[in-house]
Every structure is written in C-alpha cells, then in structure tokens.
Symmetry: D4
Subunit: 149 residues, 8 copies
C-alpha cells in the first residue's frame, strides 16, 4: 500500500510540486493529498449552496465545506508536511498541526529559521523540522527505504 | 462539579481577567485554566534542564515542557476560549484550536472583525465567535443557567 | 458519586418534573441535567454575539451555543431519557438518541404507543422504552437498588 | 480509493438517483451506500427470524437487523448526505445525523427552507446545508477536484 | 479516591460477602459494585415497562435494563472479579469477561480447578486466576499496599 | 469490498458450512473467518513454544496464541455470528459476544429456544437472534441486497 | 484536583523520595503513585494464588498482578517520571515509556548523560529529559505555577 | 489481505531473515515490516535536516524521524514479534512492547531463558514467548491455517 502524505499550508510557492517531483524522481510509492489549493475556488467552496451578503458566513460556509475534505485526508494520511511561508497569517496550517497532534498523527514542519520562535509550540509537537523541500524528500526517501519482504 | 474553561491565546491584553471577573460577578461556578501566561517564564520553561546554545532547541525544550500543562488542561476542560489579538503570529492559539477540534472539544473564538478571513478555518470548527470578553461572559452565563436538581 | 441522568426532548409538558420529583420521593442519589428548556432563551442563545438578519444563521448560532452544553452533559451522563411528545418535529431528540448510540451511552425512550413505528430506529438502539414518567422512575429506582458496600 | 458517500433519509422521492446520476455525469469516483430503501422489505427485515404478534417487537427486530447495515456503512463512509422531506417524522434521519456527529463524521443536510427552524440542532452540527440535489453534486465535485499525484 | 472493584458472576454463594468482609477487615479503601444480585428482581427488571406474553422479549427487556447498570459500573471500575461456580451456564459472567477484555479493563477470575479447560479463553485474557475469595482479598491487599504520599 | 463475517462458537456441528454454502448459493460477496476450528490443534496451539507439565499453563499458552487470531479477526469483521449448541460450557462464545458488545461490533446469536433464559444478557446486546443457519443466510442476503452504484 | 504524577523505574536509589520531598517543600498539590517498590514483595505478587515450580510462570503471574496496579495508575496520572539508573536491564521502565507514548500520556525521563544513546527512542517520545531529581521538582513547580481562579 | 507482522528489536543477528525465510517456505501470506535495520543509517536519520554539535539533539532528531516509520508500521500490523538479544540495552524493543500493550496490539517476545526475569513485565503483556525463530514460524503457520472461504 502506498505511503500517504498530506501537504498542508502555504499555497503561494511551489513547495508541493518540489516535494512531489522529488519523490517521483526517487521513485517512492507515495500518494500525496492536500486541501484544494486554488485560492479563489477554496474561498468560494460554499457559494453554490446559497448567496451570502455577510462576509463571516460566506467564509464560514466555505471553511466547513473545505473541512470535509481536509479532515478526511488528514485522518487517512500517514504523515503530514506542514509548510509556513513568509506571508499571511497561515492559521489554517497551525490549526492542521494541532489537529494532527491531537490525533497522534506525525507531522513535519517546513519553514525558515526566522520563524522558529513563533512556531515553537507547533514544532514542539512535530516529528521533524525542515527548511527546504529537498530535505523533506530526503526524509521520505529514508522512511521508505529498507523495506522487508 | 464546576464547569471548566480553558483560556488560550493572547497574553498581552487583560481579556482573561475580564472574563474571569465577569464570571465571578455573575456568580458562575467555573474553574478557569490556561497556559503559563508569564512570557519570560514560559520561554524559559526548559532552561532548568540544561543550557542550550542553539535557539531552536531552547525553544523546543520549553515548548515541550509547556505542552505537559496545556495538553492536560485542554483535555480536562469543558470548553476552550481561544483569543486572537492584533499582534504576533499567534500560531499556538490556532494550534490549540486544531487540537480541540480533533478531540471534539468545543471552543469559542474571540477576535475582531478584521481577522475573519484569515481565521475562517479556525472559526469554521468553533462553536461560536465573539468579539468582546463580555459576550463570552454572557454565553457562559447562559450555558450555566437553568440547571436542574 | 451520584448517578447522572440527562433528560432530552419535549419541553412543553412537565415530564422532567415528574421524573425528578418521583426520584426525590424515592430518595435516589441522582444528578439530573438537560438542555436549557426555556424555549425563547434557547432560540436566542447566540443573539448576544451579533445581530443576524438571516434566520438560518440566527438558528445556526444558537444551535451551536446550545451544543456546547448538551454535548458536554450527554457525555458526562450515565443514562439519557429521551422524550417524544405528540407535537412538533422533535428532530433534536432523535439527534440526541443517535449521538448517544454512537457513544455507546445507554438511553431510555419515553413516548406513546402511537409513535412506535416512526421511532423504530430510535427505539432499536435504546435500552428500554417507557410510556410514562413513573415507569422511568421505577426503572431508575431499580437500577440504584441493592448497592454493595 | 473511491470517496464513500452515505445517503440517509427520505425514500419517497428520487433525490438519491439525482445525486448518483449527477456524480456519474461529472465522472466522480464515488461509492454510494444507503440503508435498504425498499420500505416494505425494510419493515420486514426481521420477519424471517420468527413471527411476532406484537407490533413493537416486530419493528424492534427489523430496526436492529437494519442497524447492522446502516451502522457499518455510516462508519465506513467519508461523508453522509442526510435528506429531510416534507412528509413523515423522519426521526431515523435525525438519528443518523446525531450518530455522525458523535463519530466526528462530516455530513451535509438536504432540505427545504421551511424546515430550517426544527432542524437547527441537526444543521448546527452539519458541515453544509443544501436545498437541492444538484448543489450536493456541485459540492462533491468540488471536494474531489484538484487532486494531487 | 477509592479503588473500584466490580464483582461479576455467581449469585448463589456468598463469595461477594467474603471478599467485601475480608477487604473491610484489611481496612482497604475499596468501593465494590455489582449487578443487582437478587435473582427474581433481576429477571423482572423490565416488567414495569409493559406486560410480555413472550418469554424471549420478557428476558430481553430485563437484560437491557440490567445492562444500563452493569455496563456503567464495569466501565467505572478499576478491576473486575469474575466468579464461575459449579452450576448453571453463567454465560453472563463470560460475557462480562469479554467486555472487560475489549475495554482493556483488568479482571481476575475466581473458579475451581475443575473449570480450567472450559474457561481457558476467559482465563487467557485475565490478569490472574484465584480459586478462593481469600486469595482475591490477598491480591487486593497487595495492590493497595505501599502507597506513596 | 467484501462484507466480513466472523463465525464464533460451537465446533461440533456443521453450522458454519451451512451458512457459508447458503451464502455462496445466494452469490453473496462475503469473506468468512473464524477461530481455528480443529479442536485438537486449537488445544495444542502453544505446544511448540515449550513443554508444559501443568494443565493450566498449557491451556493458558494455547488460549493466548489463539487470541492473536480471534481478536484480530473479530476487530476486522463487519458482523459476528455467535453459535451456542447444546453441549459444553461454551464460555468462549459468550466471551466473544461480550468482546463484540464492548467494541460496538454487531453480532447475531444462533441458538435454540431452550437457551433463551441463560443467554438473556448475550441476546440483550445482540442485533438479532436466529435459531437456524438458513435464517442467518436470509438476514445476510437481505443486508447485502439493494446496493447502490 | 491534585496533579497526579506516576514515578516509574529504578527502585535502588531514593530518587522517588527526593522528588516527593522536594515537591512537599515547594508546597505543590501533587498526588504521587508508583508500582509497588518493595522488590521482594513485587516478585512474589502472585505467589498467594498457587505455588509454581516453573520460574517463567512464577514471574508471569506476578507481572500480571502488578500490571493491574501499574496500568491503572499510569492511565490516571497526568504525567509520568521515568527513571533509568546504572544497573540492571530496566526493561519495565522502557515498557512504561512506550505505554505512555501510545496513550498520549506525557512523560519526563530521568537519567545520566551516559545513557543518552541507548535511550534515544525513549527520550524521543518524552516531553523532557532531566538528569537530577531537583530538575524534575523544578519543572513540576513551574507546571503548577500561575494558576488562574 | 495479507497478515501483517512487525519485527522489532535486535539488529545484530539474522532472526528477521530466519522468520521471513521460514514463512516463505511455509507459503504464508504475510507482509513483514520493521524499523530501518541499518544501524548507521538509523542513527543518521535526522542528519539531513541540519548539523548538530550536541549528541543528545542529534539522537533526538533521528529518533523522532524513525518514529514516523515505526509508529505507523506498528499501528498497521496485526502482530509484532519483539526480539531481545544478549547485548546492548535494547530499550527501544521494550518501548515497542509497551506501545503495543497500550494499543491492545498482540505481540510475541523472542528471547533466551536467561532473560526471563528482567523481561517479566514485557512477557506479562505478551501473547506468547518463543526462544527460537522457528517457533515463531510455527505459531504464524498455525495462526494462518484453517482459513474459511
């Protein structure tokens, strides 16, 4: 059975593609999953259900539709990679980390040194901290090495 | 048995005190808990264990010591109030929200309108969103009203 | 420790009072709990958080505030009594029954013979079906009898 | 692996077929499941076990046989769609919603505006509310879009 | 907090009394619990709910009422003592043992050598096997010895 | 995915074969499992590990080896059929029933009318009671009927 | 409610006493627990049940009796302190650490620098590593500081 | 579906190979898994993430990376074989045993008679104790025999 890796966080750089391409190049049997990463589509996830004049409820509806997907995929994953970039609040990434922690689901954080202090609680429950996508590929390559049978 | 309320998030304003004072004034039987809110003490939580030259590991040690307290108190609470202020990254607050969500522990967020969009996933799993401490007091007063026996 | 009984469902007749009075008369050490049974207050549970022009969201907010209380009390109870009356949809009572069933929390239904067929799934997961409050009192009296020590 | 969708509730209109047909047309990899929707067969589910003169016990036996199927399928599903129509008590649908809520299993309700108030507790724990089957198809299409790998 | 011991099985000899008296004599802080041990009352536990002409359903109703008590007490206990005597089928005692095993709740069996072979699965998941009540008292005395603080 | 049925209990009549043959004739997609039903092999399950002069420990070792298989298969099954025959103590069957009950795993009992009273606790937590293997086949045929997709 | 600390491991030095005395001196509201630390009594825990000629089974019986106590106390504790000394195999201490890890129960290890490498998996799942009892006292003092209410 | 066996412990003898070869010769449908057994690679598991001057943190990082793999594989296995050899502390093997015990995951220990006493707690929660790999093969052969269908 393929190893299942959930990719959470930043959608403005190509870190997902770097990890996926790196793992393909390493020929790893991994099934990647993620939230819907199209920002506009994600914000509009609930729009088909009814029109909303109030911004809070529009966001609320979309967030709850998106949670159907993210919750299911996180629970089915074997490990999550949680990326924090330089911009935006990215509270959803920290939320996913807390969700993983409570489930006992291992996760690896991916962020620059500059974010060490504000991420200390998130890193404190992580199994590893990487600064570059290629390190994540290297860890995954290691984790899937030396299989029996 | 007292209702147990965990207060998570911002430590730079007196929102905790406002809620606690408001609940005392309303004579509610509530036991409040929280992470250690002394910032310097919290950052130094692991310092007694050994000296650390590397900032990451100093933070790591303290974060893990603090997690002994926060994890236990969140799990024992009946509801968490999670506060997001204007400053700082506050990823630990979003982490606590995700932790609650995965446990099925109800939580109420407390933040300004300006933060609605970046907090949509955090609010999407919350039971309520308040903008002022007195609203939290009002909700808690309601929740503890009309007791049988 | 007192036995904890959650009383769910109909708020338009005095069945709660009959059970509580009957158990007091029988001198049983029971702690009763319930949702807030003041209908207007319950519908307005979320009103303090913000004004809502849209009826769905007003109901939504109040329902989620109420769930903080009901979820907690159901989970802490030893048994739930779930009452279906003649009027209204009472879907919240059936919802509570399903909630109990999934948790493995025992519950007793309380309803007339006329409702047997539409309640067959709800009764199918119940530990007992009573038609009158005094039968519930009799069952509880039996359950708390013959204590050791 | 196919996404698994459980369809609960009303058996007197063709909403199941509309959703299934819509998802097939959209080429979604979904495995649908449901209770036995043949009303007479469902009511007679326990008749082969013994004859019953008492209506309560006939219903009871059938309900418990049916629960073997519904409980298993709900637990294996990724999301449930729970439909409330205009007729009948439909307490089994609300029961399924409560069952999902306690398991942390996401569900989407499908009902008209007229039912908003009596369904507020059921909707309060739902991830989304739709009024038409095509909206459900649209949400499912979105949820299965933008897959990695 | 008192140690909680559930006493399951045979109701035709005074083994419960021997254990309770022995523990009192040893001054142990134990809270004992049990199913209702009055045989006639236990068989009639559901009779107040309605009259039943069919023996299966009379037993069924009573068994389900009794389960409200036994399930709750087993789950709250720290250890169960499960007694098998010489007479009767005593399937309820074996059922309680399986229930404990699945919950990870430790239990001690109490039976003669003659029953070793037919009880091998029940003993296989037990933490200990005793043949006499005084051995159970001795084990409990040991378990509560040497307390810190 | 095939429906998984665990067959527990009596090994001296051919009830397993009757159910399996009946389900094959009905073309049902079911995967059956069971404890090792060769009595001598089952009693000797632990003999390869070391010789044992003491009967209790020989039984103990074998019971614990067998439990590796039965525990795993029960947990993976969708429903268990638990058979009680006329002979022997059959405490292992009642143990399996209790194990299922605590896991929330549905089970169907299969036994004659003569055993109703001593099996009342076991039947009380069952989803159905059958007296003949062909009834079990009929129930399984019903449960697997009317599949969507 | 007092904070509950389980003290696991080495019984040949007075580290338990040092921690308990230190916490008393600091006036902390902690309830300590432990396995029975009288070595001879612990080895003989099952002797009252029957005589055993075979060393494996004597140890086995005592280990299982002791597990009734240790399992219960670990599960009820808020944090475990797990001590590794210089002598003996101390596999029971590592076993307790793994038990805590799987339960998500936080634990602190207490051992010298010399043991870092062989304990890396045990430390890897710990919340903290201390080398001296007074550090554990300091951490506990911190964890119980700054209480609200 | 193949039976899944996790092989934990000693990496300095060829016991894994003996068991795998024996099971292949017996034509058993088993999927074996294990930690990475290359000692140097395992110690260096976290080295790609950053350089570490401090031995504790180097070990810590590697241990946490390795735990992503071991935790996942243990949780997915049906049974674990846990081997203790003559050399080294082998606390990771005892840790895995405790982890299995807390999860209710069955495990078999594999060690010489000389280790009986120090391993009594580890053996006390095991389903079986073997002294030679061929005994493990024999037990697995038995467990996979006599399959239905």
């Amino acid at each position: 059975m393929a190893f299942r890796v959930y990719l959470s966080g930043e959608i403005h750089t190509d870190w997902r593609k770097q990890i996926i391409d790196g793992c393909k190049a390493a020929n790893l049997d991994i099934q990647f999953s993620s939230a819907v990463t199209n920002h506009a589509a994600s914000d509009a996830a609930g729009d088909c259900l009814s029109e909303e004049s109030n911004g809070f409820w529009r966001d609320h509806k979309s967030a709850k539709v998106n949670a159907i997907r993210t919750k299911t995929l996180i629970e089915k994953s074997d490990v999550a990679i949680i990326r924090f970039g330089e911009q935006y609040k990215q509270w959803n990434a920290a939320f996913d980390a807390g969700y993983c922690a409570a489930l006992g689901k291992p996760y690896i954080t991916l962020h620059d040194e500059a974010l060490i202090h504000p991420l200390k609680e998130v890193d404190g429950s992580a199994q590893a901290w990487a600064t570059k996508p290629e390190q994540v590929v290297e860890v995954l390559t290691y984790l899937l090495s030396d299989q029996l049978n």
